[in-house]
């Protein structure tokens, strides 16, 4: 957009600049009479203004037919300044003297007389009698914002069923009969675990005559860790959790997974939902810091460019993502709508939006080092102790600092002169680096002025191992090019690189650096020796770091140990100790990094400013951090620490004074049970959202949920034990006609499984599903590690790929090549409810992909193992694994004939494609 032109216009419109925009002398004079608003002014507004600034349209956010709004003004500020018509923008517009804006833009204009009348009205105080014009809508007068009273069950039965039944009866509908036990257990597992039950579990349940068999099964299912894995997927969709940054380069976000594990763990441990919410906004203040991964789970533009406007827009977008996601996820309010102007429907002002911005202003996208857990702490303490011991033992080897020594190594350039020596081979051995694997951008071996090491001179490079990276290659060690992008990095933390000269020569000097361009100061080799020889292996040390002063660069100034001029045994002992020290420190560092997680970093921000029309180039007044003024005052201010700001918001969200959070979450849970929520717009409980189909049921669930200690598992249990949930899904014509989508729940609504559940179920059927939980995910792609990452679908799959799909690294902007087509979101946007489409590409993927073909093969093998060589037994086993029921006679006959004519893998391929396999029954 032409942002520049935009902001110019805005400057022109700022209230106090107004007066200068036109010549006030030219305004028609105010009428010299007492004005009657109702008789003289209101008809003018109706005639000239209401079409564009009335109930149908509010151009520039201005509405003139309601007293409060007419006086409040629109996006450009106030239009009427009571008592001062000459300064009232409205008068400037309707006088036709303003070059930019003339009102009305088309049709019948005002004339000197009518302008004069309006001026007189404004000058006389802009009095607006109460009985004139429309009434302002109280935007707080909306069901979702009202206090929840615990509704009484309308029938003597399970309250949930009672509320549903009343609605059914009103349409002449009734519940379907209870589903059969096989259907019930299959549904229970698919909905709650995203996996079918094993045939053994099915048989046990079907043959259990106990009355409480089902409720016991529900308890078992809720206690299984599979539950957290399944329901975490719903939550991760909602909070746009991804493991790459998105945008242009889409780099991997390797420490994002701890948040995914945190969600799974929280669900499995049944962390109370109010705590679950608080920890996601301010877990750093509550002793469980990983939850704040929520704040930064969204995309992040890491391509910053040089123009400052771009940077400001990117930052504004980052914060908008947090404001909007927090609003929609926890409150069901589209707070993001108020970024540019007051919310069109809900009581959310633009000030509120920027107050919320003040809450998140200190949050940045980044990894954070987290306090290690007890186990890691113990390991680290042991290692730390050993480091102390080693350092004490090594103390006597510390080289005396300074005095008489050569200058310390620098990252940018080092010269090692020595008495000339005849050599063909030169080896540079690195014994210590400032950090991780050491790097050298160019190694030069001089004979006088001539660098003989260059590959172009016929010299050959070799090494003890190279770090694998497209930018860092062995060839760069002697290619004549400087800088990080043309450098070599050793494979390990120590290592060597060697140059074989084209011919023996008398050499007298080595020059080398980490990065002669001066951009990088890490990976500097600070412990090294340079050896030379005429033959490889016949080395003679010609120089080393031993006589250099200790390296100094910020925190990496570590003591330098010297082992020269000591008895051999002592030298060896010292070197051994040093090696162990380095190794131990390295282990410590790995453990330290293992506690890194992409959960954001926090810093106290400066003042938050309102951006006029959402434009970061048009900052306006400073705004006090806070929440939604019509709902709450958080009692914080600009001095409040940013952590306390987040905590204050979180505390209000789950407080008793806020009815939204509890209504919103119980609706989400309901939605994932029945395919649709009681409120069909799960992220919008505002006035623009859909009203609940069963308002009392929603409030009953919300009340019960809170009295159950915000326990999600108890809520599930209550829902799972209802007749509503346990009824059959069989459709019938009469009810279909009245309520095709079963929104009133006359049947359990069937639906296709989501991508993850389809994939997991296949692995379950073939018997290769790996139930390893947690930790870094597996990849669905081969990644081309360029600046801009490219992802190519894997072609071959091995057991490492056979974990549950919740553990597949979630790459933004890419679809998993087989299952992505099943409406699997890519985490670019939060998704409260997946679309559910049926496409030929889905069919092709399930029929022909190498993944499914491999699984069909494995499934066939499993059938042979489980059921032997008899087709009927194989078929029965396959049916019980895939559909949780034995085949009937005609199915058995058909399948037997089919296997005979074709093959067992052809049969398993069909089974994995079957509707019955893919649908929640």
């Amino acid at each position: 957009m032409n942002g520049r032109a935009h902001s110019l216009l805005i400057v022109g419109l700022t209230a106090n600049l107004w007066a200068f925009a036109i010549d006030l002398e030219e305004l028609p004079p105010p009428a010299n009479q007492v004005v009657d608003f109702k008789k003289e002014i209101w008809p003018l507004f109706q005639k000239h203004c209401v079409k564009c600034h009335g109930p149908d349209q509010q151009k520039s956010g201005y509405r003139i037919d309601i007293a409060e709004l007419a006086l409040e003004g629109g996006e450009m500020g106030e239009a009427i300044i009571p008592g001062n018509s000459a300064k009232s923008p409205m008068i400037h517009f309707i006088s036709g003297l303003d070059e930019e804006i003339v009102m009305p833009p088309k049709g019948d204009p005002f004339n000197a007389k009518t302008v004069g009348l309006i001026r007189a009205w404004i000058d006389q105080g802009a009095d607006w009698p109460e009985d004139v014009g429309a009434k302002a809508v109280d935007r707080m007068d909306h069901w979702a914002f009202k206090k929840i009273t615990w509704p009484v069950s309308p029938r003597f039965m399970h309250p949930i069923d009672a509320f549903v039944k009343v609605r059914l009866e009103s349409k002449g509908l009734e519940f379907n009969p209870r589903a059969d036990k096989r259907t019930l257990i299959r549904r229970l597992y698919l909905v709650m675990h995203g996996l079918p039950p094993s045939p053994e579990e099915v048989e046990a349940f079907v043959n259990n005559p106990q009355r409480d068999a089902y409720s016991k099964l529900v308890d078992k299912v809720l206690a299984s860790p599979r539950y957290g894995e399944r329901w975490a997927t719903h939550w991760l969709d909602l909070v746009r959790f991804g493991e790459s940054h998105g945008f242009e380069t889409n780099r991997e976000r390797i420490h994002a997974w701890p948040y995914r594990d945190w969600v799974i763990r929280a669900l499995n441990e049944d962390k109370p939902y109010n705590q679950f919410v608080r920890e996601q906004l301010a877990g750093d203040a509550l002793g469980d810091p990983i939850g704040t991964g929520f704040l930064v789970a969204g995309p992040h533009d890491i391509v910053k460019g040089q123009s400052p406007e771009l940077g400001r827009m990117q930052r504004a977008n980052e914060l908008d993502d947090m404001i909007n996601t927090t609003g929609t996820v926890f409150l069901g309010l589209t707070t993001g709508c108020a970024r540019c102007h007051n919310h069109k429907f809900d009581p959310i002002s633009q000030q509120d939006y920027y107050a919320l911005k003040g809450i998140f202003e200190g949050v940045k996208h980044a990894d954070r080092n987290l306090p290690p857990n007890d186990d890691t702490k113990a390991k680290m303490a042991n290692l730390q102790k050993r480091v102390g011991e080693l350092k004490a033992q090594l103390a006597k080897f510390i080289a005396p600092a300074g005095q008489g020594k050569r200058p310390a190594v620098t990252a940018q350039h080092n010269i090692d002169p020595f008495p000339a020596v005849e050599a063909r081979f030169v080896r540079f051995t690195i014994t210590r680096s400032t950090s991780s694997q050491p790097c050298i951008d160019e190694l030069e071996i001089f004979s006088g002025d001539k660098n003989l090491a260059l590959a172009s001179q016929g010299a050959k490079a070799s090494s003890g191992g190279d770090f694998k990276h497209p930018l860092h290659k062995l060839a760069h060690i002697n290619d004549g090019q400087y800088g990080n992008t043309k450098s070599w990095i050793a494979a390990g933390h120590t290592g060597w690189v060697q140059i074989e000269l084209a011919a023996p020569a008398r050499i007298d000097r080595i020059e080398w650096a980490r990065d002669r361009q001066g951009k990088y100061g890490d990976r500097v080799p600070i412990g090294y020796r340079i050896e030379a020889g005429l033959k490889e292996g016949k080395w003679k040390t010609i120089t080393s770091s031993a006589d250099r002063q200790p390296f100094k660069s910020g925190q990496s100034a570590k003591p330098v140990y010297a082992f020269d001029n000591l008895p051999k045994a002592e030298t060896e002992r010292g070197q051994q100790l040093l090696a162990e020290l380095q190794e131990t420190e390295q282990q410590l560092k790995i453990l330290h990094n293992s506690t890194k997680a992409y959960v954001g970093t926090f810093a106290q921000p400066g003042p938050t400013r309102l951006f006029y029309r959402g434009d970061p180039e048009s900052p306006r007044d400073a705004i006090t951090p806070g929440a939604l003024a019509k709902f709450v005052s958080l009692k914080i201010d600009a001095k409040t620490s940013e952590q306390k700001r987040r905590l204050a918001l979180a505390d209000w969200i789950v407080s008793d004074t806020n009815p939204l959070a509890r209504r919103v979450i119980v609706n989400r849970i309901w939605q994932h049970h029945f395919g649709a929520g009681l409120v069909d717009t799960p992220n919008d409980f505002g006035r623009n959202g859909v009203a609940p189909t069963h308002p009392q049921l929603l409030d009953w669930l919300a009340s019960t949920f809170v009295s159950d200690g915000w326990s999600l598992k108890k809520l599930h249990r209550r829902i799972l034990l209802t007749q509503t949930w346990q009824q059959s899904s069989r459709p019938h014509a009469k009810a279909l006609k009245i309520d095709a989508a079963s929104r009133l729940l006359w049947r359990f609504p069937t639906r296709r499984l989501e991508a993850e559940a389809i994939r997991d179920s296949m692995l379950h059927a073939s018997g290769v599903l790996d139930l390893k939980m947690g930790g870094p995910g597996f990849s669905g792609f081969e990644v081309q590690m360029e600046n801009v990452r490219h992802f190519f679908p894997k072609k071959n799959y091995s057991p490492a790929d056979w974990r549950r799909m919740v553990y597949m690294t979630k790459v933004r902007q890419e679809q998993e090549s087989v299952f992505g087509a099943f409406d699997c979101p890519d985490a670019s946007q939060g998704v409260p409810k997946r679309s559910r489409s049926t496409t030929p590409l889905q069919a092709l993927n399930l029929l022909n992909s190498s993944f499914v073909m491999q699984q069909a093969g494995l499934f066939a093998k499993r059938l042979q193992t489980d059921a032997g060589a008899v087709p009927q037994k194989q078929i029965t086993r396959a049916f019980t694994l895939c559909f949780n029921r034995p085949p009937n006679d005609s199915e058995l006959m058909d399948a037997t004939a089919f296997i005979k004519a074709e093959s067992l893998p052809a049969f398993t391929r069909a089974m994995l494609n079957a509707n019955e396999f893919l649908f929640v029954p």
């Binding site: 069989r730 279909l736 360029e786 590409l841 993927n845 893919l918």
Partner: protein, 485 residues
């Protein structure tokens, strides 16, 4: 047929969710905003790609987008600026201290390619794209486009989806969601990536966003077939067929238990459609039936320039898809994958002359041949051709480099074919070709106009998502009336 759905009917029909949720606000506010009410496409879940009427009659039925990825310079192609040539080597007035994407500016630099008047209209087009230049009389140029970002990924998103952020539906998804397709044996929406790879924003350029996945672009090109299209190695045609019919029997028996369930029925028909696609897609991608003269005209036989030959084949494929009635074809020229920054796309920061000298010929002959071929076959009558790029480039060279930096403040696109003026120019940049100055147009306007040409009102083509009635044009956009034929 009036595509306006009865609201109540719509509410009772949200089970499949393909048409999108009912407009929530209407429940409480009957009557208000009636003339801007959303118009939902009426989608039969068993035939999501069936053709549907637009909001009003229109000439254009199909769209071909030629997207030059990497930001193709307007100053070296279609935006002729004599003042830039005159002031070559001088600092640009108004650019003191200006920092663009990669930093500081050098001096004004004329294009290394000369401009010549073309056709009857006398439109000045550079020697970089001579064959396209010869077709200037077919084109309707917009020289005054303005974007919102100077970064490639967001810029591509903006041009393809109307939002700089990821995750919004692409134009093609909107169009196929609204209109379906004339051919249900081919994907309704095909994205044809460059032979060198995918563009910078990759599949977000043809993604469904929050629209149902059915309406995402299917990506394949002349050298890279549609994934999972062919039956697996080791499965014979006979066995494949037998497996499908066994599967069909399984599904039909299962459906008996759920009489009237449209989602189950839709899934059965999706397998039938898949089978038809397995025949029709290879047929449409098989260029062996093309005449040698056609291959030659497009440059598909150019053995000296395999990238050009590859792009030419993609151009032929585009024509074949349009001929078959595919609704939306998005043809990419330039890729990030094999180099980016000017090496394999139009991002000429450092050595523009050298890089564009490679890219010009790859684009020029094949794209010109495609346009000519569409015209000759009468396809331009109902096909709208759109040539675009994510943003423009600066009239200056970058300080210390021989190329141009990003410039979203003024750039060029052109349209051709159904519903647009021929040999017409709309809008202009300033004397140097930096900022749009005359008839400034936004990408929103551009999108609104394209939808209008297809018979769609951009304000009423909306989908409810997360509390917003989302549009391709967000809350902006005006149809550029001046370019309508």
């Amino acid at each position: 047929m009036n595509p306006l759905l009865n609201r109540r009917q719509f509410l009772s029909n949200t089970g499949q969710g393909l048409g999108g949720i009912a407009l929530a606000s209407l429940l409480g506010r009957e009557g208000a905003l009636a003339k801007e009410d959303p118009i939902r496409p009426k989608i039969d879940p068993t035939k999501p790609f069936a053709p549907r009427d637009g909001h009003f009659p229109a000439k254009a039925k199909k769209v071909l987008v030629i997207f030059c990825s990497g930001a193709c310079s307007q100053l070296d192609t279609f935006d002729y600026k004599p003042e830039l040539i005159k002031r070559h080597g001088q600092p640009m007035p108004g650019a003191e201290g200006l920092k663009t994407f990669q930093g500081d500016q050098g001096n004004l630099t004329k294009s290394p390619w000369k401009f010549k008047p073309r056709g009857q209209s006398g439109k000045m087009v550079s020697e970089l794209v001579p064959q396209l230049g010869e077709l200037a009389d077919e084109m309707c140029f917009i020289h005054s486009l303005t974007g919102k970002t100077n970064t490639h990924g967001p810029g591509e998103n903006f041009m393809s989806t109307g939002y700089t952020l990821d995750g919004f539906p692409s134009m093609g998804a909107w169009v196929t969601w609204a209109l379906g397709s004339a051919n249900d044996e081919l994907p309704a929406y095909v994205a044809i990536p460059d032979p060198r790879g995918t563009p910078q924003s990759s599949i977000n350029n043809w993604g469904p966003g929050f629209l149902p996945a059915a309406f995402q672009g299917t990506d394949f090109n002349a050298s890279k077939p549609l994934r999972n299209l062919t039956r697996p190695a080791g499965v014979s045609a006979k066995s494949d067929l037998a497996t499908r019919s066994f599967l069909q029997r399984l599904n039909e028996r299962h459906l008996e238990k759920f009489p009237g369930d449209t989602e189950l029925a839709a899934r059965i028909s999706s397998y039938q459609l898949a089978a038809r696609m397995q025949l029709s897609v290879p047929e449409v991608t098989d260029l062996s039936t093309e005449k040698a003269s056609t291959l030659k005209a497009y440059g598909a036989d150019d053995a000296t320039n395999p990238i050009k030959a590859g792009f030419a084949k993609n151009c032929i494929l585009a024509r074949r898809l349009l001929e078959k009635g595919v609704r939306f074809v998005q043809l990419f020229n330039g890729a990030y994958q094999t180099g980016g920054e000017g090496v394999s796309n139009w991002d000429g920061h450092k050595v523009l002359h050298q890089q564009y000298a490679k890219h010009g010929p790859v684009l020029d002959q094949p794209a010109a041949a495609l346009l000519r071929d569409l015209k000759q076959r009468g396809l331009l009558k109902d096909t709208l051709v759109v040539w675009c790029t994510e943003f423009g480039r600066m009239p200056t060279f970058q300080k210390g480099a021989s190329g141009r930096d990003h410039n979203p403040e003024g750039f060029t696109a052109w349209l051709a074919g159904a519903g647009v003026k021929r040999g017409h120019t709309y809008g202009a940049t300033d004397a140097f070709g930096w900022k749009a100055e005359k008839d400034v147009a936004t990408v929103y306007d551009f999108h609104a106009t394209i939808l209008h040409l297809l018979g769609l009102n951009h304000k009423r083509l909306t989908y409810y998502h997360n509390g917003f009635e989302r549009r391709l044009t967000d809350v902006h956009g005006h149809v550029i009336e001046d370019i309508l034929a």
